[in-house]
């Protein structure tokens, strides 16, 4: 099953399928290790619901829901 990263709920895991988005943001995502094939765990949401905190490639990354919407995920059961 695939869905966008911004639709994930806390504790859900998945593998990145594709990364879309505008040049600068996409490049930044790549540089931070958000590339297809990487495993992602949605660790938590900020107290106001946004941004999100992920565990990816062994470290913690935060991004907004709008940026997470660029990432298509394959959900891991």
């Amino acid at each position: 099953m695939t869905k966008l990263l911004n639709e994930f709920s806390v504790g859900e895991r998945g593998v990145i399928k594709t990364v879309s988005g505008e040049g600068k943001i996409r490049r930044r995502l790549f540089d931070m290790g958000v590339t297809p094939g990487a495993e992602v765990l949605l660790r938590k949401k900020a107290p106001l619901g946004d941004p999100l905190e992920l565990t990816i490639r062994g470290y913690e990354l935060t991004l907004r829901k709008t940026e997470a919407a660029c990432v298509l995920m394959e959900v891991k059961e």
């Binding site: 995502l29 297809p36 946004d50 941004p51």
Partner: protein
Amino acid sequence: MKKFALAGNPNCGKTTLFNLLTGSTAYVGNWPGVTVDKREGTYKRGEEPVKIVDLPGIYSLSPYTPEEVISRNFILDEKPDCVINIVDATNLERNLYLTTQLMEIDVPVIIALNMMDAVEKAGDRIDAKELEKKIGLPVVQISALKNTGIKELMDRAIKISDEPREGKTVLHDSPLAHLVRDVSIALKGAKVEAPLFHAVKLAEMDEIEVKMHPELVSMVDAFKATFKDDTFGSDLEAVVADARYKYISANYSTAYERRKRGEVLTKSDKADKILTHKIWGIPIFLVILFAIFHLTFSEDLFFIGAMSGGRLPTLFGAVEEGGLGLEENAWTTLLACFYDGAVFSPGVMITNLWTWCLDWVGELLGLATANAPLWVGSFVGDGIWGGLSAVLGFLPQILVLFLFFSILEDSGYMARVAFILDRIFRRFGLSGRAFMPMIMGFGCSLPAMINTRTLADDNERTATIRVIPMFSCGAKLPILTAIAGGIVQYFGVGNADLITYGMYLVGIVTAIVCVILMRSTTMRGEVPPFIMELPAYHLPLFKGLMIHLWDKTKHFVKKAFTIIFASTIVIWFLSSFSWNWKFLLQDAQELFESDPVLYASLEGVEGLVNMHMENSILGSIGMLIQPLFTPLGFGSQLGKAGWVFAVAALTGLVAKENVIATFGTLAASVAGAYIATDEGIAEAVAMISATGITIPALISFIAFNMVTIPCFAACATAKSELPKGKFSWTLLFWLVTSYIVGTVIYLVGSWWWTVFIVLAVIAAAVLGLVLWNRKHPVALSAEESEEALLEEAAVAEEEK
């Protein structure tokens, strides 16, 4: 001398290693054209001294942030003899991503595997030899924190710096290998240095490369037209990033031996669970913030004095009034730096001690110039020292405030603050990181403006720096308390505390409105992205903090002795001389001596000078600009005496507490009496009764001083922190904003029905803005339009 560059991700321990290598030889400068710190120093413990340049912390060599461009240009143009790539061993995978880019440049690279102690503590093992073999670069295990492996690192770095190295790429297995090879051969033919690096970046269609080698773009385009990957299509940038990470995971997994374990929560995870808790996260943050301000500025630590109900004795008060009745001498004055009816906060204690020292220097200066001509004494005492000590007096509290914020920054909590608050700030077109500089503005604008360096986006930085002065700083508080107190005492209405809080609120609201306005007019554009690492929490290093503070002190003192110094002398000159070059103090002295009995009632010479302040150049400038303030309520309607408000606002440029001090001296001139009280309320009352100013005009005067051009120290900082060419606009922005805010307050306060006019004007302005913005949508940024063009070209070619 050989030159080594330190490169690595943020939070990888780079600064700690730099401090370790360079010790006291380090100094901080600026990279040309941008406000990014450039740290340099010398390593002296080897066979030969080596110059060390600390490159900014980066994740990649992309062309999007100033830090990345600086690092890239430094390595390519200045050709360091060796690049020391610091790699956080606890986070090997992402850190090696930068390594795979660095190794493409024709420069010797050595990997410093930092934080090995943390890896071993977790029970994991990294085989450095194995990693060295796989990556093809020398790898040395170090711990910058525990000072191990440093000698070996530097010895090997010095050794390899003599052997030129040709760039290598990890893309040799990827489908792009042919393209990269062909382009790099073409570049080599054109005698370009580091051809491989440029070739890979060209394949990524990197902005800078495309501009530098437009002739080779067609090669990439031709390849793109024929290339189709299963996952990425013709997206070469993604292919490259993917290839790098694939290479890393393939090679580091054999070198990294992870101890088998379940999901164990580290200390950092546990701390994070509480600090960013869904419900408690924000309250905890507010408490931390309050504690910082309390420890820096409070004159009643932990409210001990208030809780005792005033039973704690004051030092010098009479015994029957609950004092100790101590005599004032050196020891009791020293004691009074720490306690007087209540225990002071550490920030206030240090400030008191510091002020004591400054006063002592001032007295010495007075003694030294006692026999000199009158104007020399005044020049040295009032002009030079008066201005300098007013500015230097802030230093302790600025440093204490900065220390607390550095602790938050170094411990990793600051990134979480941005995480918690981003949601709120996005509404105003800023990111969560803008919060800290703004809140620091309540203490002092200087550290606040310097702290905007943590903001990635230029527009965001400019907008933040511009509104920082509106968060009323500590020096503006005396204006508030004195005038609010004056209003309550003279008119017998309202509550001084309520007026004070209300004015703070006016400042905050003005700031928010200004940010929204800027983001929808001159600084339109996307909300800056928020993609950020949340580093693991750790205890900040004492040495690192001290180096941090020392840098700030140097920065501040340098400013105090240049721009601020010059401007205080100008103000002194303008206020002590009349247009016919007469020194006013001299005049007063002569007048006093002519009839000492008659003038004795005016507190002697000083009172006389102040009575004749209107003769000074500053006084006449005040009278000249007085009509300008008519819409704000303290202009021509106040009649002849109204110029004092204009002059007070002018002297506020040196330091904001001068506004009330000026009231004190000028009260003699307009009210005929020399008054000086601690709180400045009596001065304010004298002013009010002498000029007949109204309440709305007084409120407007406070608001004007709060929002307008800040003190010279803050202006100087703003000038150096703002992007080029933005400073004069910023000055104008401050003036116009404060003028409008003052006018609105005065109009609405004096004639309540004008509120409808104001609302109508605002509505019309908002409507105009919305319509205009709809007609002129945000233009595509250069890079986007370029991309669109390229895509069109590709489509056209395909059709052929």
